[in-house]
Every structure is written in C-alpha cells, then in structure tokens.
Symmetry: C2
Subunit: 185 residues, 2 copies
C-alpha cells in the first residue's frame, strides 16, 4: 500500500507551477485554462463519508490542460525530463492524435517541456513533435534532442513564480499565421 505522495502521481512540481500561472492568467483576464483531471473510475463508494474505497486509473487521458486565450482554443501537455532529450515514450499515441485533431479544428496544441537538470522550459510546437514521432515510427531515434527545442520558444520563469508561456504562444502565432489574416484589410 503506497500513500499518494510520490511525485509524478500526486501532481508534480511542474504541474503546480503551471496551475499557479493559470490562476494568475485567469485573475488578469489573459486566459482561462482548465487542468484536465486524471480520469479515475470509482468502483466502490462510501456514501456517508463521500469517500471512494476502490477505484481504477482509466487509460484514456488526453492532454493535461485545455483552455482559451482571447478567442484562441489551446491545449497542451506538460512533460518533464531529467535527460538532455525528451524520450518519445513519454508521449502516448492517443495524446498525439488528440493534439492533431485539436489543431485540425484550428486550435493550438503544444508540449510544455521542462529540462529539469538544465532548469529550462520550452514550448514545443506539435509540428516538431510530429516530425520526430514519424521518424521514430520509421526506425529513427526514439527521442527529441535538446537541439530541436528552439531558443525563441524558451519559456522563462518570472517574478512570483509565473511560468509565462503565453509569450511563446504569441510568438508561435506571429510566425505561423498567414499574412493578412489578422483582420486588417
């Protein structure tokens, strides 16, 4: 019997910092994000105590966060690695498919990746993940190298502990938006 305090199960430090950032974004009216809880199927419930006495983890979780940023639908998953690459085994195929379908609906999907030994955070566009995913399917390397994380998409921690990832989203939008699609005409 293990108590629910081991990291990675309980909600990592990375998730806590993102939750804190999202609360701040919400207060400032900059964005609204919802943490998607780990899907758990309760089996036995003690109704008097509102306690669950038997439950299972569902397998079909999709992304960690979904939200809206000033009219733009956004979803992302937070990933942490102690290595100088992001192993692709950290990403499940149904997560990738969800992100692809989200982007096909004209939302923005990305990974927020934390290199814990370097203390660096990056926005990784879905397109980059797809390139490495497909290469791995064809027998290529099974991870995304540090070099694939672009400096322009580095995310910095700010005063009060904020991880200001909206900046990276804004930069990504600037670079990927077709010219003249900003409503000016």
């Amino acid at each position: 019997m293990a108590y629910w305090n081991s990291r990675g199960l309980r909600g990592s430090a990375l998730e806590e910092i993102i939750n804190f950032t999202n609360e701040s974004y919400r207060k400032k009216g900059l964005a609204l994000f919802q943490k998607i809880p780990t899907p758990i199927t309760p089996v036995e419930v003690d109704n008097k105590r509102r306690t669950i006495t038997l439950a299972y983890f569902d397998q079909n979780s999709t992304v960690d966060y979904m939200g809206v940023v000033q009219g733009i639908p956004v979803c992302f998953d937070a990933k942490e690695t102690a290595q100088k690459h992001l192993p692709l085994q950290n990403i499940h195929e149904h997560q990738l498919r969800f992100m692809e379908d989200f982007q096909a609906q004209r939302g923005i999907a990305f990974l927020l990746v934390y290199f814990s030994t370097l203390g660096e955070y990056y926005f990784l566009p879905l397109e980059t993940l797809q390139v490495y995913w497909e290469a791995a399917q064809k027998g290529g390397r099974k991870s995304i190298p540090y070099a694939a994380f672009e400096k322009k998409y580095q995310i910095f921690q700010q005063g009060g502990g904020m991880l200001h990832y909206l900046e990276a989203i804004a930069r990504y939008l600037e670079e990927t938006e077709p010219k003249g699609s900003d409503g000016t005409c």
Copy 2:
C-alpha cells in the same frame, strides 16, 4: 458501502449520449470535445495492482465538456431535470464563474439541458442563465422556467442516437455575431 452503479454518480444516460455524439463529431472532423473527468484526489494506492484504495471527490469541478469547433472554443455543462423547470441549485457558483470567464475570453459557454419527462433537449445560452441567476440572488425564483428555453435552441436526437447540438451552437453564433465580423470586407 455502495457500488458505483447508481445513476448520477457513474455517468448518466445523458452523458453517454453526449459522449457518443462527440465521438461522432470527432470522426467526421466537425468538432473535438473532451469530457472533463470528475476531479478525484487519490490518497492510498496499491501500486502493484494500479488500484486506488482510498480517494476523495474534489469540490472544484467546473464544466462537463470543453472543446473546439472549427476554431471556436466551446465549453458546456449537461444538466437533467425531471421537472418543468431547471432548479438553480443544480448549478454551482464556481461553474457559472468559469463559464463567464470562458466567454470573456471569447469562447462560447452554455448549458445543455434535458427535460427528462418531456424528452426534450435545449441549448441554454449563458446569458439566459445569468439573468435567472441574478434574479434569484435578489430574492426572485430559484429556477429557470421551461418557457425560458427557446424553441429555436431545441436540440433534436438524430439517426443513430446523435444529439446534434452543433446546430444550436451555429444558430446562436448567427444571432449573436456582430454584422460584418465574419471576415468579409
């Protein structure tokens, strides 16, 4: 000790029909919705069996579904009533605040309401909910009357069990979008 099969806990028939509809929307490339799982905090875990042996329900659930419909961020909560009105006690203040903040970010937030004795489904715009919520705060009636559910926003069940609520969203958009904001200029 109760087993997890009582309706309303396990996921109602209404939720099942919405989940089925969402799967169909996803397959057709019309929309992508995510059911937001009930937030449950595990306390004790049997790691060998991947079983949770003690857990609690969190109180801060927000909406039942979040997603994206062809570039538009959408969230909604499903509500069922056996009466000829929707009691406002079915809606929690933090749900309302979440929907308000979602709409402030230029998403669309609504209730999908099922009148079970009539067998009728409606799209209820957040604005209508707000009117009745505020009236109730000032001592007015504590429910939304059936008459407040507009026929133009009725949702019909279609072949194969689909509950085609995207039609109601499209109608709502047509009626609320400012003229000339559709990008034609």
